[in-house]
């Protein structure tokens, strides 16, 4: 159905309409009476919610806001997420990514190319091999999980992604993909937890904020949290459409005034990193300009099959290495 604005247009009059239409209107009105309170069957109110569904054990509670990594803070090769990821120490740390042997990179790249060439079987074998040979990395498992998810095997994808975050708890990408998979399965509370872990691992990983916003708004009925998340996403990416529209819609629904349009500076458009981002945690308003090159601020691509609520982002959504995701020496 196209625009409905026509009936508000000035000068509209039914006078020229053939008299036959009067009868039509009466007939339509009669039809509409099917929906009158007396006769129209109303959609049933939802029955009381069923007992809480047992869900797998939640991941550890979200970490405290990630501390900006002190300059020169050398760490070992194992990843950690402050406050709860397996093997995390007591002191706040930033995610650390394992060193990449050149052979591992080559094997991984070959498997990625197989995906791009549409050779799924070869890609699967390649990722499995890299996952076995280099158990310190989450990415091969994440890609295996994505292949499973594309085939509709969400349960298998979720299990693989849980293994991925167990390997590399500092991988915001892995946590975010886990959250998205859990959302597809209707495991909304687990999805929140995974997005929170992603944000704790890397507050500048924008898709985690966006996905948290979608989850909070559509599936958890928490528009305030959604607004905060989308604002954070916009601040990180500088993206206007479609997220500005979503923010405007949420503000209107919440009875808030129109948002002040963030300036280019506030959005960090094209600005190089001048300082690490301030601490950010999901559910709290952004604390100002992150001031760093945003990671993973891809333009949405056409919707993937199977679930119109999910858009695959461009292939290299991890973006260029930044202070927090650059390979670390040592280990």
């Amino acid at each position: 159905m196209s625009s409905r604005a026509w009936n508000k247009r000035p000068g509209w009059s039914r006078a020229p309409v053939a008299p036959a239409l009067v009868a039509l209107v009466a007939a339509l009105a009669e039809l509409a009476a099917c929906g009158s309170p007396r006769t129209r069957p109303q959609p049933a109110a939802p029955p009381p919610p069923p007992p809480a569904r047992a869900t797998p054990a939640s991941p550890p509670p979200p970490a405290a806001p990630t501390q900006a990594r002190p300059a020169g803070a050398a760490t070992g090769g194992t990843a950690s997420v402050p406050g709860g990821a397996p093997g995390a120490g007591a002191a706040p740390t930033v995610p650390v990514h394992p060193e990449v042997p050149p052979a591992a990179r080559n094997d991984f790249d070959r498997a990625v190319n197989s995906v791009r060439a549409g050779n799924k079987l070869e890609a699967e074998l390649g990722f499995k091999q890299v996952a076995l040979q280099y158990p310190q990395f989450a990415a091969p498992l994440v890609n295996l999980a994505i292949l499973e998810r594309k085939d509709g095997r969400l349960d298998v994808a979720e299990e693989i992604l849980k293994s991925a975050v167990a390997r590399e708890a500092g991988s915001a990408v892995a946590w975010t993909e886990l959250g998205a998979t859990q959302r597809l399965r209707g495991e909304f509370k687990d999805a929140v937890s995974s997005y929170e872990q992603a944000i704790a691992a890397d507050p500048r990983y924008a898709p985690a904020w966006r996905n948290l916003g979608v989850l909070a708004d559509l599936y958890l009925g928490d528009p305030r949290r959604a607004l905060t998340a989308f604002e954070q996403y916009r601040q990180l990416t500088g993206e206007d459409k479609p997220v500005s529209g979503w923010i405007a819609e949420l503000r209107q629904r919440l009875g808030l005034g129109p948002a002040k349009r963030p300036g280019a500076e506030a959005r960090g458009e094209g600005k190089p990193a001048s300082s690490p981002p301030p601490p950010a945690s999901p559910g709290t308003p952004p604390a100002g300009n992150p001031g760093a090159t945003p990671r993973g601020a891809p333009e949405p691509t056409p919707q993937g099959p199977g679930d119109p609520q999910t858009e695959p982002s461009p292939a290299n959504a991890t973006g260029p290495p930044t202070e927090s995701n650059a390979p670390r020496a040592g280990g």
């Binding site: 053939a18 929906g35 069957p41 959609p43 939802p46 890299v130 990395f137 990408v173 559509l218 292939a315």
Partner: protein, 329 residues
């Protein structure tokens, strides 16, 4: 055992032969030599048709055929047990169900249905078991493309559940809700099939009646307050409204309307379908609101998909996921 069998061979006319053959069969069953036992028991049946041990032979054959993975023949033996008036009711009842299962396993759905029909005819209680049997009968009818038979069983399921009183269980309630949902489908299809032709006033009356029948069916189904049935019914009701709106907009235009008059007619139609679109959105939103209570079934998902199309500013928000991660670190 071989001694028993030898008796049967060397002294076929002796009185001892009867007991020897029966004991041999029993021994072969104990040794799990099913095919040999079946041979001896079938021979016993032929040789001594009036013998008092025949009911026992039938029981043993039922076991032997089942164990030998010969479900069709086993089903026939259980059918004999069920038909024996000397057997007590509990045994007959169990044998009927076993027979139905085994005929089903053997791919003989006609005989399976016959056994199930006997079961529901002679075992009206417990209500739960009888309702399960009716459900199976409805499924068989559906598989055979017998819509009338299927709907007759659905009606029975609903009637019995409604009259079950204290014997009503969550399961019978669920089966009745699903049956009611299934019964609404033909009315929905009939509604969809009504074409809106000129003169619209006349065809709208037919469409309206079809709408009311379909809505009534889904409203009844939702009234059972069974989560997955309610979400399905809500989705279908939303789609009925949406279909009505689409069909009105696509309706045949009066041939005499041209130019401005036709344009205004189209505008008028657009105005008239607006409330139906709103009703569709409301019904889908009822489903979508259930997500936060943990209900996220096929119908809730489909309602979200519909809302993303109908109200994109509110529901068209999309997540970002990776197509492939290209960086190992």
């Amino acid at each position: 055992m071989e001694d028993f069998l030898r008796v049967a061979r060397v002294a076929p006319e002796s009185k001892a032969r009867v007991n020897a053959q029966y004991d041999a069969a029993t021994g072969l069953l104990t040794l799990k030599q099913w095919d040999r036992a079946i041979g001896v028991l079938e021979d016993f049946r032929r040789q001594f048709p009036q013998h008092q041990l025949q009911p026992e032979v039938t029981r043993k054959l039922a076991v032997a055929y089942t164990e030998a993975n010969r479900p069709g023949e086993a089903a026939a033996e259980f059918e004999r047990i069920a038909a024996n008036p000397a057997e007590n009711h509990a045994v007959q009842r169990e044998a009927l169900m076993q027979s139905a299962d085994l005929y089903a396993k053997a791919g003989n759905s006609a005989r399976a249905m016959s056994m199930l029909e006997k079961f529901v005819g002679t075992n009206t209680t417990p209500v739960g078991d009888a309702e399960e049997a009716r459900q199976r009968l409805a499924d068989y009818a559906a598989q055979r493309g017998d819509a009338t038979g299927r709907d007759r069983w659905y009606q029975e399921i609903i009637r019995v559940d409604g009259e079950a009183g204290s014997q009503r269980t969550e399961r019978t309630h669920y089966l009745a809700a699903k049956a009611q949902l299934a019964l609404a489908q033909p009315a929905r299809d009939a509604f969809r099939a009504v074409r809106l032709t000129a003169p619209l006033k006349k065809s709208l009356v037919v469409k309206r009646d079809a709408l009311e029948r379909a809505m009534d069916g889904y409203k009844r189904a939702a009234g059972y307050q069974v989560a997955e049935v309610t979400t399905a019914a809500n989705y279908e009701m939303a789609e009925l409204y949406g279909t009505l709106a689409k069909d009105i907009m696509a309706s045949e235009r009066p041939a005499k309307l041209k130019g401005d008059a036709l344009e205004e007619y189209n505008s008028l139609l657009e105005e008239q379908v607006f409330p139906f679109e709103e009703e569709a959105i409301k019904a889908h939103e009822l489903n979508a609101a259930r997500a936060k209570d943990g209900v996220y079934d096929e119908w809730v998902r489909k309602s979200f998909e519909a809302l993303a199309r109908l109200k994109p500013a509110r529901y068209g928000k999309t997540e970002l996921t990776q197509d492939v991660v290209t960086s190992l670190e």
